[in-house]
């Protein structure tokens, strides 16, 4: 019966595809401005966009695949559950983690905006619509109550509870100034617990179909805010006497947040309405996919979504300048929508909505198979992006160049990968077709032991060849992701690039140089955890190579700002002793 249904769906899809839908038909007044759903090139409220740079979901929509039967949990600032564009899609299970009531009050508007991107209702003559307008929504105000108990409740525990979400949206991140020691006493137990729970929910919830955890990569390409002790600082680069000049390189790596280096989190970067990396988007080897995140609506197109009801709350208020163009349309007199939403938060939400569509297209598929389908069907965005080269003077005084961010490369399994975009931009229509044609699930997930090399190696200062080491791996796995655990003694971590090269020759830069790392304690960095998605589908077996390159002999620095402390300079003296690799380990997830 299932196969018959699938065949029928495929035939119908083929028929619909030949009709080639070119726009979304519904009565919601702001849908024409939702470029992330259907970018016509003219969707911006104030600026043009580039046609086709969107989720590509028209044929899916025409088939009537709209997320039915899929529940998405929004782990955020809460949700305004009674919002007129959300209320009909709200299902049971929401919780206010501060008061233990069923109303997760949203005090900022962020969670409400995220929820609307995922599953705002369609055809109700209100605002715009969600990516999956028939999906169900559950909300938690975790950002207001960041305890372990709150984390567990909002992330699917207990498995036997009432929650049956298949997608968990986490549009938040931390911005540490340095890697955590994942084996440090203060972290081991909480990390172990989170990993255990995410594994159980990912693989065993929903009667074995599992769920996917979607997470935003962060908005820290140019600068970030972090806390030393309990004092906040804005941290930004300072190259050649210019603040915010980082030679085109990302200043914060999405792998710096330990949560983002977990296999169980599907990390998403953001692209804008012109089909380029969004100006703020954090990036890294752990980015799995990219999705629409938009830009600040004052300069380019943002994301049109729900806003807290009324003109006194949320983003779109009587005091808002960003939403004046939206207000001028006269299509949202109650200020129940906003065009001011953007960020990797929005990209994560778009991803969660897209996953809901693919899951609803074939409810028999487990979460890992859905993830595999998204990887297989992702499209190459910004196809001419060649990455970033950095020029520096080496220790001998010679000018040298290093390819710090590789451009698009095709790995040995045929997947296109890029540090900005992961495996590419989500293509809903292609994923839905593949989901409808898929009857076999991915084989059982296997996780290898850690393989460790602990011979100390010197990292030569300002030397483009760096230092290399190898590990022979015999695990016969098809890779779904690779984790690197690394310990380094280096007094100026910002100079370092860390590359991992697979037996097939795929080069993944897990840490690009000029990342705004600050080693406040001055001690060696122990057990930094990083994840790479760039070897997806390759074989784990063979010789793996790590390469560490010191790319600077001291011409720039990192600045920190706090109102009380003023402007502080860090990393301003080049390391006078060569750095050392203390140990490195690899772990493989695959089948």
């Amino acid at each position: 019966m299932y196969i018959k249904k699938t065949l029928l769906s495929c035939c119908l899809l083929g028929a619909f595809s030949s009709l080639a839908a070119d726009h979304l038909t519904n009565s919601d007044p702001l849908t024409p401005y939702q470029w992330h759903l259907n970018n016509s090139g003219h969707n911006g409220l104030t600026t043009n966009t580039v046609a086709g740079e969107d989720l590509n979901l028209l044929n899916t929509d025409m088939q009537g695949i709209k997320g039915d039967g899929v529940t998405v949990t929004v782990i955020d600032s809460g949700i305004e559950l009674t919002h007129p564009d959300l209320v009909n899609n709200v299902t049971t299970g929401s919780l206010n983690l501060l008061t233990s009531t069923v109303t997760p009050t949203d005090n900022t508007g962020h969670g409400t905006a995220v929820a609307g991107i995922i599953a705002a209702q369609e055809n109700n003559n209100i605002g715009g619509r969600g990516v999956a307008p028939n999906a169900d929504l559950v909300g938690f105000n975790y950002l207001d109550a960041q305890t372990m108990s709150s984390w567990l409740q909002s992330h699917g525990m207990p498995l036997t509870g009432s929650a049956n979400s298949r997608v968990y949206n986490q549009s938040y991140s931390s911005k540490p100034a340095l890697f955590k020691n994942v084996d440090a006493e203060e972290h081991t137990l909480s990390l172990q617990l989170k990993e255990r729970v995410m594994q159980q929910v990912s693989l065993n919830s929903n009667n074995g179909l599992g769920a996917l955890f979607v997470k935003s990569a962060g908005n820290a390409f140019y600068q970030y805010t972090t806390f030393f002790g309990n004092t906040p600082f804005q941290v930004f680069p300072y190259e050649q006497q210019q603040p915010f000049n980082n030679a085109g390189l990302p200043f914060h790596n999405a792998n710096l947040s330990t949560d983002n280096a977990s296999f169980w989190n599907m990390l998403v970067s953001a692209y804008n309405a012109n089909g380029k990396l969004a100006s703020y988007s954090s990036v890294g080897a752990n980015v799995f996919l990219t999705a629409p995140g938009g830009e600040n609506a004052q300069s380019q197109a943002g994301i049109v979504t729900t806003d807290m009801s009324g003109c006194a709350a949320g983003f779109n208020t009587i005091n808002s300048t960003i939403d004046i163009p939206l207000q001028n349309t006269g299509l949202d007199s109650h200020c129940n929508a906003t065009a001011a939403m953007y960020g990797t938060s929005a990209a994560a939400a778009n991803t969660s909505g897209a996953i809901a569509l693919v899951m609803s297209a074939n409810p028999q598929l487990d979460a890992r198979t859905i993830k595999h389908i998204l990887a297989t069907t992702a499209r190459k965005l910004d196809g001419n992006n060649a990455g970033v080269d950095i020029n520096f003077t080496n220790a001998n005084g010679d000018a040298v160049s290093y390819n710090a961010i590789p451009g698009w490369q095709q790995n040995a399994a045929g997947y296109n990968v890029h540090p900005f975009y992961g495996l590419g931009a989500i293509d809903v229509d292609a994923a839905v077709v593949m989901a409808q044609q898929t009857t076999a699930l991915l084989p059982t997930l296997q996780v290898s032991d850690w393989h460790t090399a602990d011979t100390e190696l010197t990292i030569p200062d300002a030397n483009v060849n760096g230092v290399q080491d190898t590990l022979a791996i015999t695990d016969n796995l098809t890779i779904e992701a690779v984790q690197l655990k690394l310990s380094i003694d280096h007094s100026r971590m910002r100079d370092l690039a860390v590359e991992l090269i697979s037996p097939s020759g795929t080069r993944s830069v897990l840490l690009s140089p000029r990342t705004g790392l600050i080693n406040a304690t001055g001690t060696p960095v122990q057990n930094a955890l990083l994840l790479s998605q760039h070897f997806y589908g390759e074989s784990a077996a063979g010789q793996w190579q790590i390469r560490l390159i010191d790319t600077d002999n001291g011409t720039s620095q990192t600045l920190l700002y706090n109102e009380q402390a003023g402007l502080l300079s860090m990393n301003d003296i080049n390391n006078n002793v060569d750095g050392t690799v203390l140990s490195w380990s690899l772990r493989f997830y695959g089948h």
Binding site: D144, T147, F228, I518, L567
Partner: protein, 144 residues
């Protein structure tokens, strides 16, 4: 906690706005290593840590705040009811051999030290939230 978050966000906004002013005034740049080292070494050695107190990450120096919850990993011989009774612990969650508890005790540091000595507890630690974990929008509402 909510008040704390609001304060932190406000502090950041003020700091960010002030940055532009500082740059236009060409504020002098000071060496930061000693100041940052001082900020990251203030609280870790405190003998009494309570709900809401901050410590620093042993590697990054970033701020971590005690949530008031405690994580315990139990051995197979552990009798949680007895432990809970002896230390006045309230069970919040149990996932396999790891339990999340709260306590009425103010001095959480002392409690964790005591629990660590229990033969049926493999590990005990504070639950810590990362300061600065926040939503990922880039939305600033400026006055019209």
């Amino acid at each position: 906690m909510k008040t704390t978050i609001v304060m932190l966000v406000l502090t950041f906004i003020v700091s960010t706005l002030s940055l532009a002013q500082a740059q236009t005034k060409n504020t002098a740049v000071k060496p930061g290593a000693a100041i940052i080292a001082s900020l990251t070494s203030q609280t870790n050695n405190a003998n009494s840590l309570q709900l809401g107190d901050s410590i620093t990450d042993s590697q990054s120096g970033n701020g971590l705040q005690l949530t008031g919850e405690v994580l315990l990993q139990l051995t197979t011989q552990a009798n949680f009811s007895q432990l809970a009774s002896r230390y006045n612990l309230q069970l919040k969650h149990r996932v396999g051999d790891i339990v999340v508890v709260t306590t009425a005790t103010n001095n959480i540091q002392q409690l964790v030290q005591q629990l660590t000595q229990e033969p049926t507890i493999k590990q005990a630690s504070f639950d810590l939230r990362e300061l600065g974990l926040s939503a990922d929008p880039q939305v600033i509402n400026k006055p019209r």
